[in-house]
Assembly symmetry: T
C-alpha cells in the first residue's frame, strides 16, 4: 500500500471445495483482465445447497489494484 | 447461481413513477454494455423533492453478471 | 403491539411485478401456517435478471406474530 | 445540492397501497411545515398485518431541506 | 432462486477442523428436519479456545428453503 | 457452547417494568416449546409510549438452543 | 401504529441509577414539548465514569409521535 | 456531558475548501437557532464533482444540545 | 472529554441480576488496572440460559480512559 | 442529480498531507478515464504509519458518474 | 462463558495457506502473553495479492480472555 | 502488511484545528508506548462545541502494530 491510487472491483468466486478455493478462483479470473492487483477483502460468504448438502461456496471479494 | 465467477457493478436508476421503474431503467441501461446479468440487490433508495413533492425516485443497485 | 410475546420468522417472497406484490405473496404464504401475524419489516430487496431485464423481485421480510 | 446548509428530519409515512404512496404521503405532510425540501432517503420499510394480510406499508424517510 | 416463497432459518454448526466442516455439519443437521434447502449465508464466524489453542470453529448460517 | 449444532430463534418480550423483565418473559415463553436453550443476544430495545410516559419496554432476542 | 404520519426525534436521557430511568427521564422531558408520542427505540447506551465507577447512564432514543 | 437531557438534530454543512470548514459552517448555522450545543458526530462525508474536480465537500453531522 | 488523548479497551461484565450490575462489575474490574477512566459505551448485550431461565447477563463495553 | 442513470466506481486516493488532498487525488485520477462525474461519498479513511508517525492518508471513495 | 469478567483484544493473523491457519497463528501468538483465553470472533477477512494470485490471508480476530 | 501477526489498539486523538491534527496527535501519543506501528483506520469522528462553535475535533483510530 504505497502512495498510489487504487481502484476497487467486486468479484464473486465459487468452489465446491472451500472458501479459500473460491477466493483463489475469483483472483485468478480477475487476473485475466486486471494488472497490479494488491489486496482483497471478503465482503460476503454464501453458498448453494442441493439434495441436502453444500453444492458450492460463493465468496464475494473487493479487490484493490493500482492505477498505473 | 451456478459454478461461475461473477463480477458486481453498482448502478443508480431513477424514475418519476416508482421504485420498480427505477430498477427496470437501471437494468435496461446496464444491458447496453453488460452481457449475462444474473441478479441485482437494492443498496439504497433515495429521491429528489421539488416544489414540495417527490420529483423522482433513485435506486442504487448492485448487479451481478457472469464472466464468460 | 400490545403487552404480548412475539416470535419473529424470516420469509422471502417473490413477484414478477412489484416489491409490494412480493410482500403480499410472502405474507399470504406465511398465513397458511402462522396465526396472529402483526407486523413485517423489509430486510433485503433483491431480484433475478434474465435476458437483460428483471425476471422477478425478491423481498426478505421479518414477520412478527403473537404467541398465544 | 448546491452550497447550502441542510437540516435533516425523519418522518414515517404509511399507505394501504404501496411504498411509493407512503413516501408521497410523508413528503406531503412534511410540506405543510417545512419549506425548501430537496431530497429524501428511505431508512426503513415496515408494515402492519391484520387478518393475515398487509394492512399498510410504513416507510421511514430522512428528508433534507435548505436552511434559508 | 426461482419464483418460490422461501423461509429462512438460522443454524450454528461447529467443527474442530475447519470453517467448511462446521458449515457442512450445520447443513447436514438441518437436512434431518428441513426439505428443499436452496442456499446459505454465513452470518458470523466464532470459536472456542482451550489451553491456548482453537478448540473448535462455530459458524452461524442463515439457510433458505422453499415452502412447498 | 460445546461441540453441538445450535438453532437460533428470534423472540420479542415486553414488560411494563424493565429491560431485564422483558428478557425474562421472552425466555420463559420460549421455554414452553423449546428445550435446551443455551444463550440469548439482545437485537433491539424499543417500547411504547402512552399518555406521555413509557407504557412498556420491548426487547428482541436471538435465542440459541442445542439440537438433540 | 395506525394509519398516521409520524415524525421521529432523537433525545438522550441520563440517570445515575439505571437504563430504564434514563429512558423515563428522556420521555418525560420530550413530553413537555411533544404531543402524541407513540413509541421509542434505543439507539445507543453509553455512560460516564468518575473515580473508577459509573457516574451515570446515557441512553439515546428515537421517539416517534403522530403529526395531527 | 453532565446529567442533562440532550436533543439531537442532523445538519449538513458544505465547503469548497475542507471537511473541517463544512463542519464549522454547519455548526455556525445551527447556532443561529439552537442554544447550548455540546457535541457533534460526523455521520457521512460526501461531495459534488464538477468539470472533473471536487466542487465542494458535504458533511452530515448529528449535533447534541442540552434541553434547558 | 477535554483535550486529552484517550485509549479504548473492551471489557465484558456479567451479572445474574441486571444489565446495570454487569456494567458496574466490568467497570469495577477495569478500575483495578486502569486509571482515569472517563466513559463507556455498550457494544453488545448477551446472556446465558440454564434450565429454561436466564442464568446471567453479559454486557460488552468499550471503556475510554485518558493517557497521562 | 437529475433524471439520469449513474454508475458508481470505487477508488482509493492517498496523500501525505490531508484527507482532502487524498480525495482530490483520487478524483483527478478517475477524471483521466471517466467523463461526467457528479458526486463522491467517503467509504473509509485509513492510513500508513512509518517510524512512529503518519506516512500517508488513504481515503476510499464511491464516485458516481452519468451514463450518457 | 461462566460468571467472570472478560477482556477483549484484537489480533490479526496471516497465513499463505488458509483462513483457519491464520486464526491458529493469531491465537498461538496471543497465547505467548495472554492467559485464560476463552473465545474468538472473526471481525474481518482480507489478504494480499502478488503476481496475480493470493500471497496470504489475513484474519482479524477479537479474542476474549478471563481476568483472574 | 507482510506475513506478521498484528495487534490492534483503539486510541482517540483530539485537536482544536483539524481531523488530520487529531490523527497525528493520537499516533504520536501511541508511539510513546508501542513499537512497530503499521497502519490506522478511522472509526469515528466527533467533536465538542463550546459557545456555539467547534472547540475540538475527536478522532477514534484503530492502530495496527506488528508483534515482534
Amino acid at each position: 500500500m504505497s502512495d498510489h491510487i487504487y481502484k476497487v472491483v467486486t468479484v464473486v468466486g465459487s468452489s465446491t471445495k472451500s472458501v479459500e478455493d473460491a477466493i483463489h478462483g475469483a483472483v485468478a479470473k480477475a487476473n485475466e483482465s486486471i494488472r497490479n492487483m494488491n489486496w482483497f477483502k471478503v465482503v460476503e460468504t454464501r453458498g448453494h445447497i442441493e439434495d441436502g448438502s453444500v453444492a458450492h461456496f460463493q465468496v464475494t471479494l473487493d479487490i484493490g489494484f493500482t492505477l498505473d
